[in-house]
């Protein structure tokens, strides 16, 4: 296992950034976010970023193509896929798992080439958790926050950073970094994880009953009752991947871009003659059933949630997947 002195973390960042673009979680106007590293940029002390790491593969807005229109003719210039290698440092285990979930959607044929290119060019360095928040429940989704995965796993212990390559890409990066020491990480005491209030959530029940049982639960009415229909849960969620494709007309060019969309929005499924999810109840149900039932149905039981707890912290009315899952489970017995 490679190791580095944490007091010289900046030097390691500099060494990585000297080879590839590096993103680290840093505080930006009081809010931790993955930020392009530049000398002097310090890592956040917060457990995790406000927005998730999905931004780096699936940015909120992405140009797809530009169209030039003249008279009756149209010409298309596709946007360039990103070509540059980059490194993301400090991804937590939950966010790292979210990449698997995103992969299952975006890399399914026909693959999304923009996402695909970003994934291919990125080296993910994960960071093990030692001080979880009360909202963390990744462990109940089978994630080990102390074995975070990615191309390289990292641990911070006793003033040192320990790095372990998990993939050839990770190995290549570590190999390219000189001056890394060798060492074995000391055993850490994970007892705090046993105290997590949400550690015993059970999501398996959603695969055990027919889809329609969940869909027709009378609880949706009261659960969704105070939902504001905003998109904050969706946009901070590392696994939400719904998008919209829109055109922007300006400067004589029509730009087609894709941007994050939220199934919580009233216009999400709006068509010329109406919508099949006319009230917030249907939209709310869609979001949670998608994570708890639909996605697992289509992806070998993989729950569309990684237990990062962001939605627990960010929802304006504190309604979230934990409350929904618990209520549905209770309601079904």
């Amino acid at each position: 296992m490679k190791t580095w002195n944490l007091s010289q973390l900046d030097d390691l960042f500099a060494a990585i950034a000297g080879r590839q673009t590096l993103y680290i979680p840093a505080d930006a106007a009081g809010q931790p976010a993955f930020t392009r590293w530049e000398p002097g940029l310090a890592m956040t002390r917060a457990l995790n970023t406000g927005r998730s790491a999905k931004d780096l593969f699936f940015p909120q807005v992405e140009n797809l193509a530009a169209f030039q229109i003249s008279g009756k003719t149209i010409s298309v210039s596709p946007a360039q896929s990103p070509e540059e290698d980059y490194v993301i440092f400090g991804v937590r285990a939950c966010d790292c798992r979210s990449f698997d979930i995103l992969d299952s959607v975006f890399l399914a044929e026909p693959a999304d080439t923009f996402y695909q290119a970003r994934r291919a060019h990125a080296t993910v360095i994960t960071l093990a958790c030692t001080e979880p928040e009360e909202t963390c429940f990744c462990t109940s989704l089978g994630i080990d926050p102390q074995a975070p995965g990615g191309d390289i796993s990292c641990w911070m212990a006793e003033g040192r950073l320990y790095l372990q390559a998990n993939t050839p890409k990770g190995e290549a990066l570590l190999a390219s970094l000189p001056d890394l020491g060798e060492g074995e990480k000391p055993e850490t005491n994970p007892s705090v994880f046993d105290k997590l209030p949400l550690k015993d959530l059970d999501f398996s029940v959603f695969q055990e009953k027919p889809l329609l049982d969940w869909f027709n639960s009378p609880l949706w009415e009261s659960l969704s009752q105070s939902c504001l229909g905003c998109g904050s849960c969706t946009f901070v969620c590392p696994t939400c991947q719904c998008y919209d494709v829109r055109d922007f007309e300006g400067g004589g060019t029509v730009r087609r871009f894709r941007c994050w969309d939220s199934c919580m929005y009233s216009d999400f499924t709006m068509m010329a003659h109406g919508t099949n999810r006319p009230t917030q109840k249907e939209r709310f149900r869609q979001r949670f059933l998608h994570k708890l039932v639909y996605h697992p149905n289509n992806h070998q039981g993989q729950i569309g949630c990684v237990g990062c707890g962001r939605c627990l912290q960010k929802c304006p009315i504190s309604m979230n997947i934990v409350k929904v899952a618990k209520a549905l489970k209770e309601g079904s017995v």
């Binding site: 809010q31 909120q60 928040e133 009360e134 009752q225 504001l228 969706t234 941007c259």
Partner: protein, 324 residues
């Protein structure tokens, strides 16, 4: 306080004064309170809470709830009553279907405020006088209540409860607080500094619309930013311009209607101090057109829908005040 709120709610249902109660429902933790409609005293006693973490302003829910069958009781903090009156002023609430219970408010706390103090893993909380004893995964911490107060409550404008059918606690007064201090601090900066400040803040915006959807003044049937026919529909934080446009136009649309309840800042997942934009406009309107508080009464014409012949010209802005 919590007890009287719950008992009042339960008895309103039991005595048939109302068929539903709009209040706050307990969650997984001590702070994750959800607005909810209760239909039985049993539910109320089981799940209803009133704690310093019941920040959510319930007045906006009345737009839909007051149009439903039967009477609904609602619990409103002083701040919320301003929104309640303002919404009535805009004909958005059927007052006859509402039984408004004013709850005096000690100032609301915020888990984010606790976390800003360096607390992690919040699992429990007990109030003891002016102190909060907070249980965390990493041990118990004592925090002065004032330090846990949410940002908006630190410049509380009024403890007065407006247009309530009943009051729990005592009727309060308007307060003189320096709620414009941060606005003034920004005004004192150079334009470059202000631009840098806002760029940094607004570039965090993810256009989740939480600020808009929670805002009692943003009660439009369809927001212009959602209306494909408006010509400005957009849902993406697609460029720095779109963030500016959204927040400028939103501030402008609620100008004279915003009661300064601060919900926008409370719900912002990105912690953008959005209330400053509204406060700036409130401050300007107060200075230029006379003091006006939205939702303080039913009669006064809001400044954006009124004028005087002597209003200052826009040049006081474009040419700079104080000879700047």
């Amino acid at each position: 306080m919590q007890r009287s709120v719950i008992e009042t709610a339960a008895s309103l249902l039991e005595t048939g004064v109302c068929t539903r109660v709009l209040g706050w429902k307990t969650g997984e933790f001590f702070y994750d309170v959800t607005p909810a409609v209760f239909t039985s005293a049993e539910e109320v006693r089981k799940d209803m809470v009133f704690t310093p973490f019941c920040g959510a302003n319930l007045s906006k829910y009345l737009i839909a709830e007051s149009r439903k069958e039967g009477k609904i009781a609602v619990f409103l903090k002083p701040c919320d009553t301003f929104s309640f009156v303002q919404l009535q002023k805009e004909h958005r609430i059927c007052r006859e279907n509402v039984y408004a219970v004013g709850v005096q408010c000690p100032g609301m706390s915020d888990p984010d405020a606790l976390k800003a103090l360096g607390l992690k893993g919040l699992t429990g909380c007990v109030q003891e006088g002016d102190t909060l004893r907070v249980d965390t995964l990493y041990g118990e911490k004592a925090v002065p209540l004032a330090d846990a107060l949410s940002l908006r409550c630190r410049g509380c404008k009024s403890k007065r409860l407006h247009d309530c059918d009943a009051i729990i606690g005592t009727q309060g007064k308007d307060l003189q607080t320096s709620r414009f201090a941060q606005v003034e601090a920004l005004e004192a900066m150079t334009a470059e500094e202000r631009f840098a400040f806002w760029r940094k803040e607004l570039s965090k915006c993810i256009r989740c619309n939480a600020c808009r959807n929670v805002c009692p003044a943003c009660s439009c049937e369809t927001c212009v930013f959602d209306n494909p026919d408006s010509g400005v529909q957009n849902k993406a934080a697609a460029s720095s311009f779109e963030e500016n446009l959204f927040h400028i136009i939103r501030a402008f649309h609620v100008a004279g209607r915003c009661t300064d309840c601060g919900e926008c800042t409370r719900v912002c997942p990105q912690h953008i101090p959005l209330h400053l934009l509204n406060r700036k406009l409130i401050k300007d309107m107060n200075t230029l057109y006379g003091v006006y508080q939205a939702g303080a009464d039913f009669e006064t014409k809001p400044p954006m829908l009124a004028f005087t012949l002597e209003d200052p010209e826009a040049s006081i802005i474009t040419q700079g005040r104080n000879g700047q």
